[in-house]
Protein backbone atom coordinates (compact mmCIF):
# COMPACT_ATOMS: atom_id res chain seq x y z
CA UNK A 1 0.00 0.00 0.00
CA UNK A 2 1.24 3.51 -0.69
CA UNK A 3 0.01 7.06 -0.07
CA UNK A 4 1.08 10.46 -1.30
CA UNK A 5 1.56 13.59 0.80
CA UNK A 6 2.84 17.11 0.29
CA UNK A 7 5.55 17.76 2.86
CA UNK A 8 4.91 20.87 4.98
CA UNK A 9 8.12 20.89 7.03
CA UNK A 10 9.66 23.64 4.86
CA UNK A 11 8.51 25.74 1.88
CA UNK A 12 10.09 23.32 -0.62
CA UNK A 13 6.84 21.28 -0.52
CA UNK A 14 8.31 17.91 -1.56
CA UNK A 15 5.84 15.37 -2.97
CA UNK A 16 6.28 12.42 -0.67
CA UNK A 17 5.31 8.85 -1.50
CA UNK A 18 5.05 6.61 1.53
CA UNK A 19 4.89 2.88 0.84
CA UNK A 20 4.42 -0.03 3.18
CA UNK A 21 5.55 -3.54 2.37
CA UNK A 22 6.10 -6.41 4.81
CA UNK A 23 5.82 -4.04 7.81
CA UNK A 24 8.51 -1.80 6.38
CA UNK A 25 7.69 1.83 5.60
CA UNK A 26 9.70 3.69 2.98
CA UNK A 27 9.50 7.36 2.03
CA UNK A 28 10.52 8.62 -1.40
CA UNK A 29 10.40 12.04 -3.02
CA UNK A 30 11.88 13.79 0.01
CA UNK A 31 14.78 16.24 -0.40
CA UNK A 32 15.88 16.01 3.22
CA UNK A 33 15.75 13.75 6.25
CA UNK A 34 12.96 15.68 7.94
CA UNK A 35 10.70 14.64 5.10
CA UNK A 36 11.08 10.98 6.10
CA UNK A 37 9.86 11.63 9.65
CA UNK A 38 7.01 13.78 8.39
CA UNK A 39 5.99 11.18 5.79
CA UNK A 40 5.94 8.35 8.31
CA UNK A 41 4.00 10.44 10.82
CA UNK A 42 1.41 11.44 8.20
CA UNK A 43 1.12 7.82 7.08
CA UNK A 44 0.90 6.15 10.48
CA UNK A 45 -0.80 8.67 12.72
CA UNK A 46 -1.25 12.20 11.39
CA UNK A 47 -1.43 14.76 14.20
CA UNK A 48 -3.16 18.14 14.19
CA UNK A 49 -3.46 21.01 16.64
CA UNK A 50 -6.99 21.46 17.91
CA UNK A 51 -8.40 24.97 18.32
CA UNK A 52 -12.03 25.92 18.80
CA UNK A 53 -14.29 27.95 21.07
CA UNK A 54 -16.58 27.20 24.01
CA UNK A 55 -19.61 29.12 25.30
CA UNK A 56 -18.82 31.56 28.10
CA UNK A 57 -21.46 33.01 30.42
CA UNK A 58 -21.17 36.55 31.74
CA UNK A 59 -18.08 37.33 29.66
CA UNK A 60 -17.37 40.38 27.52
CA UNK A 61 -18.01 38.13 24.50
CA UNK A 62 -20.21 35.03 24.00
CA UNK A 63 -17.36 32.70 22.92
CA UNK A 64 -14.05 31.83 24.59
CA UNK A 65 -11.27 30.50 22.32
CA UNK A 66 -9.54 27.28 23.41
CA UNK A 67 -6.48 25.32 22.26
CA UNK A 68 -4.95 21.91 22.94
CA UNK A 69 -1.81 21.59 25.05
CA UNK A 70 -0.48 19.34 22.27
CA UNK A 71 -1.49 17.82 18.96
CA UNK A 72 -4.15 15.14 18.73
CA UNK A 73 -4.59 12.37 16.14
CA UNK A 74 -6.40 13.75 13.10
CA UNK A 75 -8.90 10.88 13.32
CA UNK A 76 -9.98 12.05 16.80
CA UNK A 77 -10.68 15.64 15.75
CA UNK A 78 -14.49 15.40 15.36
CA UNK A 79 -14.82 13.35 18.50
CA UNK A 80 -12.94 15.96 20.52
CA UNK A 81 -14.79 18.88 18.91
CA UNK A 82 -18.11 17.31 19.87
CA UNK A 83 -17.05 17.33 23.50
CA UNK A 84 -15.77 20.92 23.25
CA UNK A 85 -19.06 22.10 21.74
CA UNK A 86 -20.93 20.75 24.75
CA UNK A 87 -18.95 22.81 27.26
CA UNK A 88 -19.94 26.10 28.82
CA UNK A 89 -17.80 28.10 31.27
CA UNK A 90 -18.33 31.24 33.33
CA UNK A 91 -16.33 34.48 33.27
CA UNK A 92 -13.82 35.50 34.43
CA UNK A 93 -11.31 33.10 32.84
CA UNK A 94 -7.52 33.37 32.68
CA UNK A 95 -5.50 32.25 29.69
CA UNK A 96 -4.17 28.73 30.27
CA UNK A 97 -7.02 27.64 32.59
CA UNK A 98 -7.91 24.03 31.89
CA UNK A 99 -11.34 23.76 30.29
CA UNK A 100 -11.30 19.98 29.60
CA UNK A 101 -8.73 17.68 31.13
CA UNK A 102 -7.31 14.83 29.02
CA UNK A 103 -9.91 15.21 26.31
CA UNK A 104 -11.19 11.83 25.06
CA UNK A 105 -8.15 10.14 26.66
CA UNK A 106 -5.79 11.70 24.13
CA UNK A 107 -3.49 12.96 26.87
CA UNK A 108 -4.15 16.51 25.71
CA UNK A 109 -5.81 19.19 27.85
CA UNK A 110 -8.01 21.86 26.32
CA UNK A 111 -7.12 25.27 27.79
CA UNK A 112 -8.37 28.85 27.39
CA UNK A 113 -6.30 30.66 24.76
CA UNK A 114 -7.15 34.11 26.12
CA UNK A 115 -8.30 35.72 29.33
CA UNK A 116 -11.81 37.12 29.52
CA UNK A 117 -13.27 39.45 32.14
CA UNK A 118 -16.81 39.59 33.40
CA UNK A 119 -19.05 41.88 31.46
CA UNK A 120 -19.71 45.07 33.43
CA UNK A 121 -23.35 45.75 34.06
Amino acid sequence: MSKEFVCIVCPNSCRLTVSEKDDEITVTGNDCKRGIDHGISEYKNPLRMITSTVAILGGTLPRLPVIGTGEIPKTRMNDCLDEIYGVSVSAPIKRGEIIIQNIKDTGVDIVASRSMNKKER
Binding site: F5, V6, I8, C10, P11, N12, S13, R48, M49, T51, S52, T53, A55, T60, L61, P62, R63, P65, V66, I67, K74, M77, L81, R95, S113, R114, S115
Partner: protein, 417 residues
Protein backbone atom coordinates in the same frame (compact mmCIF):
# COMPACT_ATOMS: atom_id res chain seq x y z
CA UNK B 1 -12.44 70.39 25.34
CA UNK B 2 -9.94 68.41 27.42
CA UNK B 3 -6.38 69.04 26.32
CA UNK B 4 -3.48 66.84 27.41
CA UNK B 5 0.16 66.30 26.52
CA UNK B 6 1.97 62.99 26.03
CA UNK B 7 5.45 61.93 25.02
CA UNK B 8 4.27 59.20 22.68
CA UNK B 9 0.78 58.45 21.43
CA UNK B 10 0.17 55.12 19.68
CA UNK B 11 -2.94 54.88 17.50
CA UNK B 12 -4.18 51.30 17.35
CA UNK B 13 -4.00 48.57 20.01
CA UNK B 14 -3.28 45.55 17.81
CA UNK B 15 0.05 43.71 17.72
CA UNK B 16 1.99 46.65 16.20
CA UNK B 17 0.57 49.22 18.61
CA UNK B 18 1.01 47.01 21.68
CA UNK B 19 4.65 46.29 20.84
CA UNK B 20 5.31 49.96 20.06
CA UNK B 21 3.73 51.26 23.29
CA UNK B 22 5.56 48.71 25.45
CA UNK B 23 8.90 49.38 23.77
CA UNK B 24 8.47 53.17 24.06
CA UNK B 25 7.77 52.81 27.79
CA UNK B 26 10.76 50.48 28.22
CA UNK B 27 12.98 52.99 26.45
CA UNK B 28 11.98 55.64 28.97
CA UNK B 29 9.04 57.55 27.49
CA UNK B 30 7.29 58.89 30.60
CA UNK B 31 3.78 59.32 29.31
CA UNK B 32 2.62 56.85 26.68
CA UNK B 33 -1.01 56.80 25.54
CA UNK B 34 -2.40 53.86 23.55
CA UNK B 35 -5.66 54.55 21.71
CA UNK B 36 -7.89 51.67 20.53
CA UNK B 37 -11.28 51.98 18.84
CA UNK B 38 -12.50 48.51 19.85
CA UNK B 39 -13.62 47.76 23.41
CA UNK B 40 -10.54 45.61 24.05
CA UNK B 41 -6.87 45.42 23.04
CA UNK B 42 -5.41 42.83 20.65
CA UNK B 43 -6.77 43.93 17.29
CA UNK B 44 -7.42 41.27 14.69
CA UNK B 45 -5.50 38.66 16.75
CA UNK B 46 -8.55 38.32 19.00
CA UNK B 47 -10.44 36.57 16.21
CA UNK B 48 -7.47 34.40 15.14
CA UNK B 49 -8.06 31.36 17.33
CA UNK B 50 -5.93 29.06 15.13
CA UNK B 51 -2.29 28.33 15.97
CA UNK B 52 0.90 29.27 14.13
CA UNK B 53 1.68 32.66 15.67
CA UNK B 54 4.93 33.62 17.36
CA UNK B 55 7.35 30.98 16.06
CA UNK B 56 10.13 33.57 15.69
CA UNK B 57 9.47 35.51 18.89
CA UNK B 58 8.40 32.81 21.34
CA UNK B 59 9.77 29.68 19.65
CA UNK B 60 6.37 27.98 19.71
CA UNK B 61 3.15 27.95 17.75
CA UNK B 62 0.69 30.05 19.73
CA UNK B 63 -2.85 30.90 18.73
CA UNK B 64 -3.44 34.52 17.73
CA UNK B 65 -5.32 35.09 20.96
CA UNK B 66 -2.44 33.66 23.03
CA UNK B 67 0.05 35.85 21.19
CA UNK B 68 -2.09 38.93 21.89
CA UNK B 69 -2.51 37.99 25.56
CA UNK B 70 1.28 38.01 26.08
CA UNK B 71 1.39 41.67 25.06
CA UNK B 72 -1.92 42.70 26.65
CA UNK B 73 -0.86 41.35 30.06
CA UNK B 74 2.42 43.29 29.87
CA UNK B 75 0.64 46.46 28.77
CA UNK B 76 -1.96 46.24 31.52
CA UNK B 77 0.78 45.72 34.13
CA UNK B 78 2.60 48.85 32.90
CA UNK B 79 1.55 52.45 33.46
CA UNK B 80 0.76 52.98 29.78
CA UNK B 81 -2.51 54.91 29.56
CA UNK B 82 -4.98 52.80 27.58
CA UNK B 83 -7.96 54.50 25.96
CA UNK B 84 -10.45 51.90 24.71
CA UNK B 85 -13.59 52.49 22.65
CA UNK B 86 -11.93 55.68 21.46
CA UNK B 87 -11.85 56.89 17.90
CA UNK B 88 -9.19 59.22 16.50
CA UNK B 89 -10.79 61.82 14.25
CA UNK B 90 -7.75 63.69 13.03
CA UNK B 91 -3.99 63.83 13.24
CA UNK B 92 -2.23 67.07 12.31
CA UNK B 93 1.30 67.48 10.92
CA UNK B 94 2.30 69.27 14.15
CA UNK B 95 1.37 66.10 16.07
CA UNK B 96 -1.94 67.16 17.56
CA UNK B 97 -4.45 64.30 17.87
CA UNK B 98 -8.21 64.88 18.04
CA UNK B 99 -10.19 61.94 19.41
CA UNK B 100 -13.42 61.16 21.19
CA UNK B 101 -15.10 58.54 23.33
CA UNK B 102 -18.28 58.30 25.36
CA UNK B 103 -16.58 59.04 28.71
CA UNK B 104 -14.48 62.09 27.90
CA UNK B 105 -16.27 63.46 24.85
CA UNK B 106 -13.95 65.05 22.36
CA UNK B 107 -10.39 65.76 23.47
CA UNK B 108 -7.00 66.73 22.05
CA UNK B 109 -3.55 65.35 22.77
CA UNK B 110 -0.34 67.18 21.91
CA UNK B 111 2.11 64.36 21.24
CA UNK B 112 5.90 64.53 21.26
CA UNK B 113 5.82 61.73 18.72
CA UNK B 114 3.03 59.64 17.18
CA UNK B 115 3.12 56.00 16.10
CA UNK B 116 0.43 55.05 13.59
CA UNK B 117 -0.64 51.41 14.04
CA UNK B 118 -4.14 51.30 12.55
CA UNK B 119 -3.65 48.04 10.66
CA UNK B 120 -5.43 47.23 7.41
CA UNK B 121 -8.86 46.57 5.96
CA UNK B 122 -10.16 43.81 3.75
CA UNK B 123 -11.04 44.37 0.11
CA UNK B 124 -14.80 44.20 -0.46
CA UNK B 125 -17.01 42.88 -3.29
CA UNK B 126 -17.11 46.19 -5.15
CA UNK B 127 -13.31 46.37 -5.07
CA UNK B 128 -13.03 43.08 -6.95
CA UNK B 129 -15.74 43.94 -9.49
CA UNK B 130 -18.35 41.33 -8.59
CA UNK B 131 -21.68 42.22 -10.19
CA UNK B 132 -25.26 41.13 -9.67
CA UNK B 133 -27.63 41.42 -6.73
CA UNK B 134 -26.52 42.68 -3.34
CA UNK B 135 -28.23 40.33 -0.89
CA UNK B 136 -27.30 39.40 2.68
CA UNK B 137 -24.60 36.76 2.80
CA UNK B 138 -21.68 38.37 0.98
CA UNK B 139 -19.10 38.78 3.72
CA UNK B 140 -15.38 39.29 4.02
CA UNK B 141 -13.40 36.43 5.56
CA UNK B 142 -12.54 38.60 8.54
CA UNK B 143 -16.20 39.34 9.23
CA UNK B 144 -17.04 35.62 9.09
CA UNK B 145 -14.11 34.91 11.39
CA UNK B 146 -15.33 37.44 13.93
CA UNK B 147 -18.92 36.16 13.78
CA UNK B 148 -17.88 32.54 14.33
CA UNK B 149 -14.94 32.86 16.72
CA UNK B 150 -16.00 35.80 18.88
CA UNK B 151 -19.72 36.48 18.53
CA UNK B 152 -20.88 32.86 18.20
CA UNK B 153 -22.94 33.13 15.02
CA UNK B 154 -22.86 30.88 11.97
CA UNK B 155 -23.40 33.20 9.01
CA UNK B 156 -24.44 30.48 6.53
CA UNK B 157 -24.71 26.79 5.78
CA UNK B 158 -23.29 26.40 2.24
CA UNK B 159 -20.30 28.60 1.49
CA UNK B 160 -18.20 29.53 -1.52
CA UNK B 161 -14.84 31.18 -0.81
CA UNK B 162 -13.24 33.58 -3.25
CA UNK B 163 -9.49 33.97 -2.73
CA UNK B 164 -6.88 31.38 -1.77
CA UNK B 165 -4.64 33.51 0.42
CA UNK B 166 -3.99 32.21 3.91
CA UNK B 167 -7.06 33.95 5.34
CA UNK B 168 -9.35 32.22 2.82
CA UNK B 169 -7.77 28.84 3.53
CA UNK B 170 -7.93 29.23 7.31
CA UNK B 171 -11.61 30.14 7.04
CA UNK B 172 -12.30 27.12 4.82
CA UNK B 173 -11.12 24.87 7.65
CA UNK B 174 -12.77 26.89 10.37
CA UNK B 175 -16.18 26.92 8.65
CA UNK B 176 -15.96 23.18 7.91
CA UNK B 177 -15.21 22.39 11.56
CA UNK B 178 -18.23 24.49 12.53
CA UNK B 179 -20.49 22.47 10.25
CA UNK B 180 -20.73 24.86 7.31
CA UNK B 181 -20.40 23.01 4.03
CA UNK B 182 -17.55 24.66 2.08
CA UNK B 183 -18.23 23.96 -1.59
CA UNK B 184 -14.93 25.21 -2.93
CA UNK B 185 -12.23 27.85 -2.89
CA UNK B 186 -11.98 29.89 -6.10
CA UNK B 187 -8.80 31.75 -7.05
CA UNK B 188 -8.51 34.14 -9.99
CA UNK B 189 -4.75 33.65 -10.26
CA UNK B 190 -3.24 30.47 -11.64
CA UNK B 191 -1.34 29.80 -8.42
CA UNK B 192 -2.66 29.47 -4.88
CA UNK B 193 -2.08 32.57 -2.75
CA UNK B 194 -1.48 30.81 0.56
CA UNK B 195 1.24 28.70 2.09
CA UNK B 196 1.50 24.97 1.28
CA UNK B 197 1.03 24.18 4.95
CA UNK B 198 -2.41 25.76 4.83
CA UNK B 199 -3.32 24.16 1.49
CA UNK B 200 -2.62 20.78 3.07
CA UNK B 201 -4.08 21.28 6.53
CA UNK B 202 -7.05 23.49 5.61
CA UNK B 203 -8.17 22.13 2.22
CA UNK B 204 -6.71 18.63 1.62
CA UNK B 205 -7.55 17.46 5.15
CA UNK B 206 -11.23 18.16 4.45
CA UNK B 207 -11.33 17.37 0.71
CA UNK B 208 -12.24 20.97 -0.15
CA UNK B 209 -11.58 21.60 -3.85
CA UNK B 210 -9.39 24.53 -4.98
CA UNK B 211 -10.24 25.97 -8.40
CA UNK B 212 -7.42 28.04 -9.90
CA UNK B 213 -7.86 30.67 -12.64
CA UNK B 214 -11.55 30.78 -11.74
CA UNK B 215 -13.55 33.58 -10.21
CA UNK B 216 -17.01 34.56 -9.05
CA UNK B 217 -18.67 36.70 -11.72
CA UNK B 218 -22.13 37.20 -10.29
CA UNK B 219 -24.13 37.01 -7.07
CA UNK B 220 -27.77 35.85 -7.18
CA UNK B 221 -30.53 36.33 -4.61
CA UNK B 222 -32.72 39.13 -3.30
CA UNK B 223 -33.05 38.91 0.48
CA UNK B 224 -30.33 36.30 0.91
CA UNK B 225 -27.60 34.87 -1.34
CA UNK B 226 -29.13 31.99 -3.32
CA UNK B 227 -26.27 31.20 -5.67
CA UNK B 228 -23.15 32.56 -7.33
CA UNK B 229 -21.95 32.23 -10.91
CA UNK B 230 -18.35 31.21 -11.35
CA UNK B 231 -16.30 31.20 -14.55
CA UNK B 232 -12.84 30.18 -15.62
CA UNK B 233 -10.50 33.00 -16.63
CA UNK B 234 -8.47 33.17 -19.82
CA UNK B 235 -4.83 34.23 -20.07
CA UNK B 236 -5.85 37.91 -19.94
CA UNK B 237 -7.91 37.17 -16.83
CA UNK B 238 -11.19 37.67 -18.70
CA UNK B 239 -14.06 35.30 -17.81
CA UNK B 240 -14.67 32.57 -20.40
CA UNK B 241 -18.46 32.72 -20.81
CA UNK B 242 -18.88 29.09 -21.93
CA UNK B 243 -17.41 27.91 -18.61
CA UNK B 244 -19.94 29.77 -16.48
CA UNK B 245 -21.54 27.65 -13.81
CA UNK B 246 -24.18 28.41 -11.17
CA UNK B 247 -23.45 27.20 -7.66
CA UNK B 248 -26.23 27.14 -5.09
CA UNK B 249 -25.00 28.61 -1.80
CA UNK B 250 -26.10 31.02 0.93
CA UNK B 251 -22.71 32.52 1.78
CA UNK B 252 -19.99 34.09 -0.36
CA UNK B 253 -16.80 34.63 1.62
CA UNK B 254 -14.35 37.16 0.19
CA UNK B 255 -10.67 36.70 1.00
CA UNK B 256 -9.36 38.95 -1.72
CA UNK B 257 -6.63 40.97 -0.13
CA UNK B 258 -5.85 43.59 2.47
CA UNK B 259 -5.28 47.33 2.14
CA UNK B 260 -3.45 49.40 4.78
CA UNK B 261 -5.88 51.79 6.46
CA UNK B 262 -4.38 55.22 5.92
CA UNK B 263 -7.23 57.76 6.05
CA UNK B 264 -5.67 59.46 9.09
CA UNK B 265 -2.23 59.39 7.48
CA UNK B 266 -3.48 60.99 4.27
CA UNK B 267 -5.29 63.74 6.19
CA UNK B 268 -2.03 64.49 7.99
CA UNK B 269 -0.36 64.98 4.60
CA UNK B 270 1.78 61.84 4.89
CA UNK B 271 3.25 60.59 1.61
CA UNK B 272 1.95 57.13 0.60
CA UNK B 273 3.96 54.55 -1.39
CA UNK B 274 1.76 53.12 -4.19
CA UNK B 275 3.64 49.80 -3.95
CA UNK B 276 2.92 49.16 -0.25
CA UNK B 277 -0.16 51.43 0.02
CA UNK B 278 1.36 52.54 3.32
CA UNK B 279 3.41 55.60 4.29
CA UNK B 280 6.85 56.06 2.75
CA UNK B 281 9.13 55.20 5.68
CA UNK B 282 12.76 55.85 6.57
CA UNK B 283 15.24 53.73 8.53
CA UNK B 284 13.56 54.73 11.83
CA UNK B 285 10.09 53.96 10.38
CA UNK B 286 9.34 57.70 10.38
CA UNK B 287 6.86 58.87 7.75
CA UNK B 288 7.32 61.95 5.55
CA UNK B 289 5.98 64.08 8.44
CA UNK B 290 8.66 64.51 11.13
CA UNK B 291 7.73 62.90 14.44
CA UNK B 292 5.00 60.68 12.97
CA UNK B 293 5.99 57.02 12.67
CA UNK B 294 4.16 53.94 11.34
CA UNK B 295 4.28 50.25 12.24
CA UNK B 296 2.54 47.02 11.33
CA UNK B 297 -0.04 46.53 8.60
CA UNK B 298 -0.77 50.25 8.25
CA UNK B 299 2.75 50.52 6.82
CA UNK B 300 2.75 47.38 4.71
CA UNK B 301 0.74 44.15 4.91
CA UNK B 302 2.89 41.60 6.75
CA UNK B 303 2.32 37.84 6.81
CA UNK B 304 3.89 37.09 10.19
CA UNK B 305 2.77 38.80 13.38
CA UNK B 306 6.32 38.41 14.71
CA UNK B 307 7.45 40.93 12.10
CA UNK B 308 4.52 43.22 12.94
CA UNK B 309 5.68 43.35 16.56
CA UNK B 310 9.26 43.93 15.42
CA UNK B 311 8.16 46.86 13.25
CA UNK B 312 6.36 48.34 16.27
CA UNK B 313 9.57 48.17 18.28
CA UNK B 314 11.59 49.76 15.48
CA UNK B 315 9.08 52.63 15.27
CA UNK B 316 9.17 53.04 19.08
CA UNK B 317 12.96 53.32 19.01
CA UNK B 318 12.66 55.90 16.22
CA UNK B 319 10.02 57.86 18.12
CA UNK B 320 12.25 57.96 21.21
CA UNK B 321 15.24 59.11 19.15
CA UNK B 322 13.05 61.86 17.69
CA UNK B 323 11.91 62.95 21.17
CA UNK B 324 15.51 63.03 22.37
CA UNK B 325 16.62 65.14 19.42
CA UNK B 326 18.79 62.34 18.05
CA UNK B 327 17.29 62.49 14.55
CA UNK B 328 18.60 65.22 12.26
CA UNK B 329 15.53 65.86 10.11
CA UNK B 330 17.54 68.05 7.72
CA UNK B 331 19.90 65.24 6.77
CA UNK B 332 19.06 64.28 3.15
CA UNK B 333 17.66 60.84 2.34
CA UNK B 334 19.06 58.13 0.09
CA UNK B 335 16.38 56.29 -1.84
CA UNK B 336 16.21 52.49 -1.65
CA UNK B 337 15.27 51.29 -5.16
CA UNK B 338 13.59 48.00 -5.94
CA UNK B 339 15.58 46.00 -8.51
CA UNK B 340 15.02 42.68 -10.24
CA UNK B 341 12.17 40.53 -8.83
CA UNK B 342 11.44 42.84 -5.88
CA UNK B 343 7.86 44.15 -5.66
CA UNK B 344 8.43 46.50 -2.71
CA UNK B 345 10.85 47.30 0.07
CA UNK B 346 10.35 48.96 3.45
CA UNK B 347 11.89 51.32 4.51
CA UNK B 348 11.83 53.08 1.17
CA UNK B 349 14.60 55.54 2.09
CA UNK B 350 17.43 55.83 4.58
CA UNK B 351 19.64 58.49 6.11
CA UNK B 352 23.39 58.01 5.53
CA UNK B 353 24.03 58.24 9.28
CA UNK B 354 21.66 55.31 9.97
CA UNK B 355 23.04 52.49 12.08
CA UNK B 356 21.62 49.02 11.68
CA UNK B 357 18.51 49.09 9.49
CA UNK B 358 15.99 46.24 9.16
CA UNK B 359 14.37 45.87 5.74
CA UNK B 360 11.17 44.04 4.81
CA UNK B 361 10.47 43.04 1.20
CA UNK B 362 8.51 40.76 -1.09
CA UNK B 363 9.52 39.13 -4.36
CA UNK B 364 7.42 39.12 -7.53
CA UNK B 365 7.96 35.49 -8.49
CA UNK B 366 8.99 32.22 -6.85
CA UNK B 367 12.48 30.76 -7.15
CA UNK B 368 14.06 27.67 -5.63
CA UNK B 369 17.39 29.39 -5.10
CA UNK B 370 18.16 33.08 -5.44
CA UNK B 371 20.72 35.67 -4.44
CA UNK B 372 19.53 38.69 -2.49
CA UNK B 373 21.83 41.54 -3.39
CA UNK B 374 21.99 45.09 -2.08
CA UNK B 375 24.14 47.51 -4.03
CA UNK B 376 25.26 51.06 -3.22
CA UNK B 377 25.83 53.01 -6.43
CA UNK B 378 26.33 49.69 -8.24
CA UNK B 379 28.74 48.26 -5.70
CA UNK B 380 27.60 45.22 -3.73
CA UNK B 381 27.26 45.87 0.01
CA UNK B 382 25.27 42.78 1.00
CA UNK B 383 24.72 39.34 -0.50
CA UNK B 384 22.51 36.66 0.97
CA UNK B 385 21.59 33.30 -0.52
CA UNK B 386 17.91 32.47 -0.19
CA UNK B 387 16.00 29.23 -0.79
CA UNK B 388 12.38 28.76 -1.76
CA UNK B 389 11.43 32.40 -2.09
CA UNK B 390 7.80 33.16 -2.99
CA UNK B 391 5.53 36.23 -3.12
CA UNK B 392 3.38 35.17 -0.11
CA UNK B 393 6.44 35.06 2.15
CA UNK B 394 7.94 38.33 3.26
CA UNK B 395 11.72 38.45 3.48
CA UNK B 396 13.75 40.47 5.92
CA UNK B 397 17.41 41.42 6.21
CA UNK B 398 19.58 43.83 8.18
CA UNK B 399 22.07 46.31 6.78
CA UNK B 400 24.63 47.43 9.33
CA UNK B 401 25.50 50.70 7.59
CA UNK B 402 23.50 52.36 4.83
CA UNK B 403 26.16 54.85 3.63
CA UNK B 404 25.61 57.89 1.44
CA UNK B 405 25.09 56.22 -1.93
CA UNK B 406 21.72 55.27 -3.44
CA UNK B 407 20.80 51.67 -2.63
CA UNK B 408 19.16 49.07 -4.83
CA UNK B 409 17.88 45.68 -3.70
CA UNK B 410 17.41 42.81 -6.14
CA UNK B 411 16.72 39.08 -6.01
CA UNK B 412 18.54 37.29 -8.80
CA UNK B 413 17.75 33.76 -9.83
CA UNK B 414 20.59 31.37 -9.16
CA UNK B 415 21.16 27.90 -10.49
CA UNK B 416 21.33 25.11 -7.92
CA UNK B 417 23.64 26.11 -5.05
Amino acid sequence: MISVKADIVVIGGGPAGLAAALKARQLGAEKVILIERDTELGGILQQCIHDGFGIHRFGKRLSGTEYAQEFIDQTERSDIEIKLDTIVLDVTPDRMIYACNSLEGMFEIQAGAIILAMGCRERTASQVLIYGDRPTGVLTAGAVQRYINMEGYLPGSRAVILGSGDIGLIMARRMTLEGISVLGVYEAMDKPGGLTRNLVQCLDDFDIPLHLATTVTKVHGHERVEAVTIAKLDKNRKPILETQERIECDLLVLAVGLIPENELSRNAGIEIDPATKGPVLDNTFMTSVPGIFAAGNVAVVFDLVDYVSLSGEIAAQGAMDFLNGKIDCDEPYQKVETGENVSFIVPQRVRPSANKTTFFMRVKSSEKTALLECTADGESVLEKRCRYIAPPEMLTFDLSCCGSKPLEVSMKKEEKL
